[in-house]
Symmetry: C2
Subunit: 365 residues, 2 copies
DNA sequence: CTGAAAGCGCTTACAG
DNA sequence: CTGAAAGCGCTTACAG
């Protein structure tokens, strides 16, 4: 393995000078820098991560903690994080939080504390006190995306507003018998997001004098199949809903397919609106509330970079907009929003957008 | 931050003894070990990754290089890798290979060479000579999953056999007019896998005297939408195919939906078989050739562990089967297979399985 | 602008 | 079984 000494020897300077020339920190004459760069290039020298980390305390690595790595939402967010961090020379290490309590503990007690990273991004996680403390004790920038963690700086879509937007869209179309496919209670324990969507949704319906009875709520597991099952059940009611709001696009698509199978036309007999901005939504012409998960990841990456390299991000104007203004700017017209970041530590509000396609229309009657 | 010195002080031993007690390497009296463990626990000490790496040369970290992190296949493989490595205390760092040539170079020239990892797993990548060399020069275990890289130890499904199996299934059902949805040429440049599937497929058809004419081949982009478009086109032919083999489940599902939209019944009027084992396949009752991507990731993880910890894996009997035997054992009966690992460096053959569900049946005639 | 040297936090022969 | 000390490959005050 080629080390800094090899480069120093070839360039006929000290290792200190090599370090300065390569890192750009400190001063080196143009001629010397040239010589060092050439030598490093010739030898294919790349600084050792471990040695550099030990000396500087910086790893050029960001940890991302996710509950699942193979579900669409999380891998999409991860893609956004990677897109934001990769070009800036940061690596990403992945911490998948296991179901098993013992293994989960190990992630927070050990893996995370090895100090392999300069910052952490936690996605849609509900962390208990110990876990939160583990993260905070790292004394590193920690950004949460979603998840109810009052003690963490959180970037989150206003899920209450998402629910309100869905309700308003359906009400505006003239629907009055409106159902909801949301999270089963066990499922929601972890995420809590669906509940907020539901609350905003219900509140807006209530304001319009429309009630979401038990018969009009069907719990599901956020999969296409679960959504289809839930919709099938809802469509079996004697007084069938004319519209369904599903708390995810996959469930919404399941509902569309189930309706089709049941001979119920969409949108003539049934309107369906989802949440996410799932790539399949376009194919199914799904009306949805797009929460741009890729953008969420990019945004978290930008926050991390801002925290890690205050000067560098000041130099990059695009990133230099304060949190709230940045989200404001990208909010489209159709977007409603509730109270900003209430109850959250230094929160950032993420944009969402109602995308009206062909699964919603006025009710037939 | 609590360091090994703090623990040593509290336990009243030297740092050397702390290191030995905590790592389990070297000998420490039971009493001393107890004391050290208690001290470490009390202080919440976790060894610093950088310091430990620098001293030992081991990072307890495995790199995974993928072309896309947010596509189903790759995130599922990644999930398998994480499932295999996490419990053994390894972290995973993610290298997403960008489209952009410049950025791609940076990944292989710089990111990968920072020696942040003990081993590398490259998923479905076609690497050029320089990239391959970069990986090999790391002088670390490198395992490829799929992808045509003769110089890398590769775990791969026998895609020729996959194609043969699909063809045989459809022929056995009595189909003679059989179409294929495969990769567009540009798309296949990167992966080359689809071509092999197609070759095995065509060869088997040819052996049965059935030919795959140009009119019966439709290229697509491996998305559901692309599959639907391709199928729509195929079904427009005057002499319509009675069966379609799609080179991925997402394309196959697209074909099923397109057929439905065109009023073509599945499987009565059209049989469809895919490849992958996509989670949505079950919902759509799709007949498919399951290549178990999660298992592929686990398998790669096992190979990496075998290389990194020869003794440890010898102690775990389940992992101790030689490559070829392991795959043999897990091959199910329905599985055909061609020549093993021909032309590949120390290759391992990954199992696949024909899963017959409800989108294939004898042709109506 | 450049170099000698200390130090980052561990691990591991080497002695005892 | 245990400790003193060298060393892993960098970086960064500190001098000059």
């Amino acid at each position: 393995m080629v080390s800094i000494d090899d480069v120093a020897r070839l360039a006929q300077v000290s290792t200190a000078t090599v370090s300065r020339a390569l890192s750009g920190r400190g001063t080196v004459s143009a001629a010397t820098r040239e010589r060092v760069l050439r030598a490093a290039d010739r030898l294919g020298y790349v600084v050792s991560a471990a040695a550099s980390s030990l000396a500087t305390g910086r790893t050029r690595n960001v940890g991302v903690v996710v509950p699942h790595i193979d579900r669409w939402f999380f891998s999409t967010v991860l893609g956004g994080v990677a897109a934001g961090l990769g070009p800036r020379g940061y690596d990403i290490t992945l911490y998948a939080v296991p179901e098993d309590a013992e293994a989960r503990r190990a992630v927070f007690e050990t893996a995370v504390r090895r100090r392999r990273v300069d910052a952490m991004i936690a996605v849609s996680l509900k962390l208990d006190d110990d876990e939160t403390r583990s993260l905070l004790e790292l004394d590193l920038p920690v950004i949460a995306i979603g998840g109810p963690n009052p003690r963490l700086a959180t970037l989150a879509v206003d899920d209450d507003a998402v629910g309100r937007t869905a309700a308003r869209h359906l009400l505006d179309l003239g629907h009055r018998r409106i159902a909801h496919i949301g999270a089963a209670p066990e499922f929601d324990r972890e995420f809590r997001i669906p509940t907020q969507r539901r609350q905003g949704f219900e509140a807006t319906l209530a304001d319009a004098g429309v009630s979401l009875t038990t018969a009009l709520f069907a719990p599901a597991d956020f999969t296409l199949e679960g959504g289809a099952r839930a919709a099938t059940q809802l469509l079996r009611e004697r007084d069938r809903p004319t519209a369904i709001f599903a708390a995810s696009d996959e469930m919404a698509i399941g509902a569309v397919l189930a309706a089709r199978d049941a001979g119920v036309r969409v949108p003539e007999d049934l309107s369906v609106v989802g949440v996410d901005g799932h790539e399949l939504g376009e194919f199914f012409h799904l009306t949805t509330i797009d929460q741009r998960p890729h953008g969420q990841g990019e945004r978290a990456a930008a926050e991390v970079l801002r925290a890690l390299e205050p000067t560098a991000s000041a130099a990059a104007p695009a990133d230099d907009v304060p949190l709230s203004a940045a989200s404001e700017a990208s909010w489209s017209q159709e977007v409603g929003h509730g109270e900003r970041g209430a109850g959250r530590g230094r929160a950032g509000v993420l944009p969402f957008e109602l995308v009206v396609r062909e699964t919603t229309a006025p009710p037939a009657g």
